[in-house]
Symmetry: C2
Subunit: 404 residues, 2 copies
C-alpha cells in the first residue's frame, strides 16, 4: 500500500510533459457482434480495420495495435498483430498485440495514442478483436478465468461469473438492496441496443423478464450478465496537426489513463471499491481538466450489472452504495442525467472480450460525431469510456471530445 500512496501522489501532482502532442480519432469501423462462424479472427479484424481506414480516407497507416485476450487459449494463435496487418493488406507496418484481459481493447487504443502522442507516428490504427463462439461454452468459460488469478481463484473452481456474484452478494448485503434493483442496467442496455444494427441482442426486455431470468451464480442472473460474441472494432488515430493539415474530421482524445489493482479479490482491501477505476478516472479527469459533471455520457464496462454500479461509484457519478440508484431512477437513460451504454453496452451490444474496449471508443466517437442514429444524444461534447480487465484489476479510461 505504501507504493500505491506514493504512486497516486506522483501521478496526480505532476503535470504531463509539454512534449505531448494532441491526438485525434479520424476514422472508425466495426463489425456486428455475433456468432461469426464463417469468419476467422483475421477476417473480423481486417473488416474493422479496413472500415476504419476507409472512414478516415487513409490508405497506409504506420502501425496497428491489436487488443485481444483469448486468441492463444481458444484458437492456438498468437502473433495476431502481424497476422491481421498482413490480411488487411498492410504487411510491413509495425504491429503487435496488447492484452489486459477484458481491457485489452482500450489498452490497444492507449498504445496507439502513445505512438502518436510521442511523435513516433502520425497515423496509426487501434483494433480490438475477439472470436469466442467457435469453441464449446465450457471451454470459453474456462478460458475467461484467465482474467482472474488462475492459481488462487481459477484453480479452486471460481469462475468469472462466480467472482462477480461474490461482489454483487456483498453489495446487496452491505447496502441493503434487492437483486431486482439492478434491473434498470439491463433494461437500459437492451433498449439502446434495439436501435444499434451492430448489437447482438436487439430486443427490449422488461422488469418482469429480469425478475424471471435464470440465476447463474446467486445472485447473478442471465440478464445481469453480458453475452459473449465474436466481433472487431477499430479506430484510426492521427496527430491533430496532421489531421488538420489533411482536412480530416476529428474527435479529440482529451485524456487517456490506465491503472491496476490486485487481480485476486482476496488481495483487495475493499471489495466494493474499484480502486483502479477510481485511479484511472482521476488521472483522466486531471489530464482533460474536467470533472464528472462535465461528462455528457459514459460508456462503462457493464460485463455484469454489479460492475456498472461499482464503476459509476468509482468514477464519481454516484456516492458509495448509490450507483445502483442511478439505474433505479433511470438517470442512465439517453435522456437521463448520465446516459450510459448508449449503443447497448456489453450487456446487449455483446461482449467479445478483447474487442469491447474498442467498441466503447467507436460508439463514443459515433455520439460525438452525431452518427449515433436513433440513439443520438443532443449536443454532447464530452464522452468517457471505461474498460475493465478482470473484476477491476486493469482499468483503462478515456475521455473523448467533440472537435470545434
Amino acid at each position: 500500500m505504501r507504493g500505491v500512496a506514493l504512486y497516486i501522489r506522483s501521478q496526480t501532482d505532476r503535470r504531463l510533459d509539454r512534449h505531448l502532442r494532441d491526438v485525434s480519432i479520424i476514422g472508425i469501423g466495426q463489425t456486428p457482434v455475433g456468432e461469426h462462424w464463417d469468419k476467422p479472427l483475421r477476417v473480423l479484424g481486417t473488416e474493422a480495420v479496413r472500415a476504419a481506414l476507409a472512414d478516415a480516407g487513409v490508405e497506409c497507416p504506420e502501425a496497428l495495435y491489436v487488443g485481444n485476450m483469448l486468441s492463444g487459449q481458444l484458437l492456438g494463435q498468437e502473433n495476431v498483430g502481424a497476422l491481421i496487418a498482413d490480411h488487411a493488406g498492410l504487411s510491413g507496418i509495425e504491429a503487435y498485440k496488447i492484452e489486459a484481459a477484458c481491457a485489452s481493447g482500450a489498452a490497444a487504443f492507449r498504445t496507439a495514442y502513445m505512438a502518436v502522442a510521442s511523435g513516433l507516428c502520425d497515423v496509426v490504427v487501434a483494433c480490438g478483436v475477439e472470436k469466442m463462439t467457435d469453441t464449446l461454452t465450457d471451454e470459453t468459460t474456462g478460458a475467461l478465468v484467465a482474467a482472474a488469478d488462475a492459481e488462487f481463484e481459477g484453480e479452486h473452481g471460481l469462475s468469472f461469473v462466480g467472482i462477480n456474484a461474490l461482489l454483487m452478494q456483498r453489495y446487496l448485503y452491505e447496502h441493503g438492496y434487492d437483486r431486482q434493483d439492478f434491473s434498470g442496467f439491463a433494461i437500459n442496455a437492451h433498449r439502446n441496443a434495439a436501435n444499434n444494427p451492430n448489437a447482438m441482442f436487439r430486443k427490449k426486455i422488461s422488469a418482469e423478464a429480469f425478475a424471471r431470468a435464470k440465476i447463474i451464480a446467486e445472485p447473478v442472473s442471465l440478464l445481469d450478465s453480458s453475452g459473449i460474441g465474436d466481433g472487431a472494432a477499430a479506430a484510426v488515430l492521427a496527430s491533430a496537426d496532421w489531421a488538420r493539415a489533411h482536412g480530416k474530421r476529428q474527435v479529440r482524445v482529451a485524456a487517456s489513463a490506465a491503472a491496476t489493482d490486485a487481480v485476486a479479490l482476496h488481495d483487495r482491501d475493499d471489495l466494493l471499491f474499484l480502486r483502479a477505476a477510481w485511479l484511472s478516472a482521476r488521472k483522466a479527469y486531471a489530464q482533460a481538466g474536467v470533472s464528472p459533471k462535465d461528462i455528457d455520457f459514459f460508456e462503462l464496462h457493464d460485463a455484469f450489472t454489479i460492475m456498472s454500479a461499482l464503476s459509476l461509484e468509482a468514477t464519481g457519478f454516484a456516492e458509495r452504495g448509490q450507483g445502483v440508484r442511478l439505474a433505479m431512477e433511470d438517470a442512465i437513460a439517453l435522456n437521463g442525467r448520465i446516459p450510459i451504454c448508449t449503443m447497448g453496452g456489453l450487456k446487449a451490444r455483446g461482449h467479445p472480450v478483447g474487442a469491447t474496449g474498442m467498441y466503447q471508443i467507436v460508439e463514443a466517437a459515433q455520439q460525438l460525431l452525431g452518427a449515433a442514429g436513433a440513439n443520438q444524444l443532443p449536443n454532447c461534447r464530452l464522452g468517457m469510456t471505461q474498460n475493465i480487465g478482470g473484476s477491476g484489476a486493469t482499468v483503462v479510461t478515456h475521455i473523448l471530445e467533440r472537435a470545434g
Copy 2:
C-alpha cells in the same frame, strides 16, 4: 505489396517528430534462465522488476509493460500486467501485457519507450517473462506454433522447428552450404554463455559435437536450436532529462523500430529474405543516424542457426547468402568484426520466448555499461538488438548507445 511499397517510402522519407523526447535505460535486472519449477510466473517477473528498480534506485515507476507470449496457453493466466505489478508491490500503476510471439519482450520495451518518449511518463519498467517448463514438452511445442499461422501451418502439423527446417533446407539448396557450416553460431553462443552466470547452458561445445548432434527436423539439429526455459528480464526507462536531473547512470535508446511480414511462409515472396528484419533495421539506422559499420555488437535472434544467418543478411552485416560465412570465419566472436550473442544468445543463455527480447536489451546494456564481466567488449559504444516473432513475422530492432 502496393501497401508495403507505400509504407516503406513513408517510413524512410519522413523525419521523426521534434516532439520526441530522449529516453534512457537507467536500471536492469534479470533472473537466471532455467527450469524454475519452484517459482510461478509472477515471482519470476517480480524478481526481474525489483532487481531493475533497485539497480536504478527507483521506488515507484509510473507503468509496467510486460512482454509475454504463452501465459494464456500454458498457464491459463492472462492479465499478467496487473498480476506482476501487484506482486512486485507496485499495484496501482498502469500495467498490461504485450504479445508478439517471440518478439514480445522487445515489443514491451518499445511500448515503454513510447510511454516515456511521448511525455506521458517519466519513469517506467519493461519486463519480459516466460514460464515454459512446468508443462509437458509436447504441450509446450504445440503452444509455440501459435507464433506461426495456426490455421494454415499449425493445423497441418507443421511445428515451429519444422518451419525453420524448411528455411534452412532452402538456404543450403540455394547457396550450396553444408549444415556443418552453421556450427560456428552454436559454438560462439556456448563459448560466450560459459561466462554468463544467468545462462542456461554454460558449457562450451565443439565442432565435432555439433556434427554428431541429433537431427530434430532435417537439417535442423539439437545444436542448431535454442533451448526453451523459464526466466525474466527487465529494464527501467526514463526520460534523459529526468535521468540527468536525478543523477542516474544512463544507456541511451538511440533507436526503436518495429515492422511485420506475412506470418505464413507460403505468403512470402522470398523465403530467405527477412523483410521485417530488414525494414525495422533500416528504420532504426535512420533514427539513430548510423549504418551497420557503426554497430559494435549485435544481439540477434538465434532461435535457430538459420535465423542468425538471415538476420545478419537482412540487417546489412552480410550480403545475401553470406551470413553463414561470418560464423565460418568466426567474425562473430567477441574479438571479431561483429560480435553477436555476447552473453550466449538464445542458443545458450536460453530462450524463454516472451522474455528473450528483454534479455537481449539487458545484455546489450551490460556491455555498454562495462558490466559484462569476462565477456566485456572493449570500447563499445553502439549495440543493436533484434527480436524476431514467428519466423520473421514481427521484428523489433533497437540501437542502444553508451552515454558520454
